[in-house]
């Protein structure tokens, strides 16, 4: 282990190499291009490939292809590019393709302010693709978290055979911080489980035991079928309600039943708290300070920073906040993740604190809104 000063974007790039990234495809977009550029220089040194494609659609479809060629694969993008990638993310969900998308949020909608920050896309990151299932979403608020959650994102993607969204933002992307860099030998790296059946008996969508099927890839003799249609365990088209039910519920359960294992958060003063400030990503930096400020003023405030946004660990979050009277959900948007939390914290007052700022909303803004409710 060693320490370096890195931005969130470079932390993502470095962590992806440690995680075993072997293929990156991308298209330039602010504020993610430096992930791409860093990898273009560094990844070939580790035998990996970095290719620029003609657009984001080609990039994400290439990432899907690379993953089926056994390579850990990633792309990075921002709002307009992520919107273009959603059709292929839906493909990755139904074909159970491990891959990571680093989604560095900027100010939207549409072109918005490309160089500046926001958290407008938190619901899009998991509800954006057609098909109504869940993609795991992790949100860093510091370069160190960007590093650690990137490793985690690759591990989840391989373990659960799923696309994973690493949801960063323009502030985290370009803020420098001290990052503990771990060598590959120091990090737990998960690789997809490989089939143990004879070549001719392999069924690419058969979970055997559990919910996640072992994954063979191209060129190994398994004659795999990557199938975007509703399919049975062999990958054969199965336009029947029973097949659809079986596939949908398995795809849903493999993600949602892992919500406890995937859950990651950090907190301040949670043991002794009446007023909880919940946030994520760069806004959490202000929220932590706001909690301290309120404490200094005698309010029993605490802060809960969520690093796993989806799947939502409902019981876990509910339990963490069980002794709290009031929950404030602080976000740099019109109040989006609040919609999720109010649904699972039914017996508590949940208040939305939507603060729109091209950078991080200031702690005093957070305190100001909370004050009105106290």
């Amino acid at each position: 282990m060693r320490y370096e000063y890195l931005t969130g974007n470079i932390a993502i790039a470095e962590a992806s190499i440690v995680s075993g990234l072997k293929f990156y495809a991308g298209y330039p977009i602010t504020p993610t291009s430096d992930i791409f550029e860093h990898l273009a220089r560094e990844l070939p040194k580790y035998g990996g490939h970095v290719i620029q494609f003609e657009d984001e659609i080609a990039s994400i479809n290439a990432v899907v292809g690379a993953s089926w060629a056994c390579a850990k694969a990633m792309t990075a993008t921002s709002g307009p590019g992520f919107s273009l990638m959603l059709e292929a993310l839906s493909l990755a969900v139904i074909t159970e393709t491990p891959l990571v998308v680093a989604y560095v949020m900027r100010t939207g909608p549409s072109t918005g302010v490309p160089t500046r920050s926001g958290q407008y896309d938190v619901l899009q990151s998991t509800y954006g693709f057609h098909g109504g299932l869940v993609i795991p979403v992790l949100a860093p608020s510091t370069p160190q978290e960007a590093y650690d959650l990137t490793v985690k994102a690759f591990n989840i993607s391989e373990k659960l055979r799923t696309p994973v969204v690493l949801l960063s933002d323009a502030v985290v992307a370009h803020t420098y911080g001290k990052v503990a860099i771990r060598e590959r030998s120091e990090v737990e790296i998960v690789d997809r489980s490989k089939p143990s059946t004879p070549l001719s008996e392999y069924r690419p969508y058969d979970p055997v035991d559990g919910l996640v099927p072992p994954m063979a890839c191209f060129g190994e003799g398994y004659s795999v079928l990557v199938e975007s249609l509703t399919h049975d365990e062999r990958g054969y088209y199965a336009p029947r309600s029973d097949a659809q039910r079986k596939l949908m519920w398995r795809l849903y359960r493999k993600i949602t039943e892992s919500s406890g294992k995937l859950f990651d958060y950090s907190s301040l003063y949670l043991d002794d708290c009446d007023v909880a400030l919940v946030s994520y990503g760069s806004t959490a930096l202000s929220t932590q300070v706001a909690a301290k400020t309120l404490r200094e003023r005698g309010v029993r405030a605490c802060s809960l920073k969520l690093k796993t946004l989806f799947p939502i660990y409902e019981e876990g979050i509910s339990k963490l906040l069980k002794n709290v009277e009031k929950v404030f959900v602080v976000e740099n948007n019109v109040g989006l993740y609040y919609r999720e939390l109010r649904g699972i914290l039914k017996d508590r007052d949940v208040v939305s604190v939507p603060l729109i700022d091209l950078d991080v909303p200031l702690p005093q803004e957070v305190v100001g809104v909370v004050d009105k409710w106290l």
Binding site: H49, I57, A58, V64, Y222, S223
Partner: protein, 281 residues
Amino acid sequence: MAVTHPLDPYLRVDRIPTMWCPGCGLGIALGAILRAIDRRIEEGLLKKENIAFVGGIGCTARMTLYPYFDSAHVIHGRAIPFAIAVKVVKPEMKMVIVGGDGDIAAIGGNHLLHALKRNADLLVIMVNNMTYGMTGGQLAPTTPRGLYTTTTPYGNPERELNVIKLAAALGANYVARSSITHPQLLERTIYKALAKRGLAFVEVLSTCPEIFGRHIGLRNPVDLYMELKKKVTVKTNPSIEESDYDWGRGFVIGEFVDRDEPGFLDTYREYISKSFGGGAV
């Protein structure tokens, strides 16, 4: 399971019969492709486990469902970037893209354009039935001008896209037009294309009696087949000008381009290995 046909080892025989309508030209095309592959495997140029079919959406893309190779039936128009990535990661693979005119040249047009520009190491087989068959007969970029389709009920006002000309202008290593009315020639074309580095593009004129036949008044599969056959002229080394796409005047089939420039993989690896002494890749 008794082997009853010489191509059975290359087929998921439990999925036969195919989903294609009676009289569809796709069966002829698939047969020719598999025979060409068989010859290349017999010769030792290809290995069965290193062949992959990739298709988007449409009747032709469903050709990925039947061959007993690695296969991907992905999303509409996006087979090419998927395949490029597989090839970059595993250069030993032979990537065969199968798609209709809509999949490859309408929604997939930009990926074809850039694959051609890169001379990406792919065999792209575009089976052209001149309509959207699977969705019921809408306008395709290859639909003859003036034809009535379900989305151009007053006649197609657009010029046809001549994909041969596009492929030639952008520098593919191999550009040929063939036809299911000439299965042996088609097989030889695919056979040759399978040995090329860089991008090999083969347009296969085909028959969709159910849909295109309805538009054109030739719903009987044999009638449509004979009509297409009449329209096809075989030429040796035709010029690009002779590739003109015109249902009225007929089509020249043959090899329009056959060159051997470095493929994308060659130059990509050359650039990387220049910097890393070949060690990294």
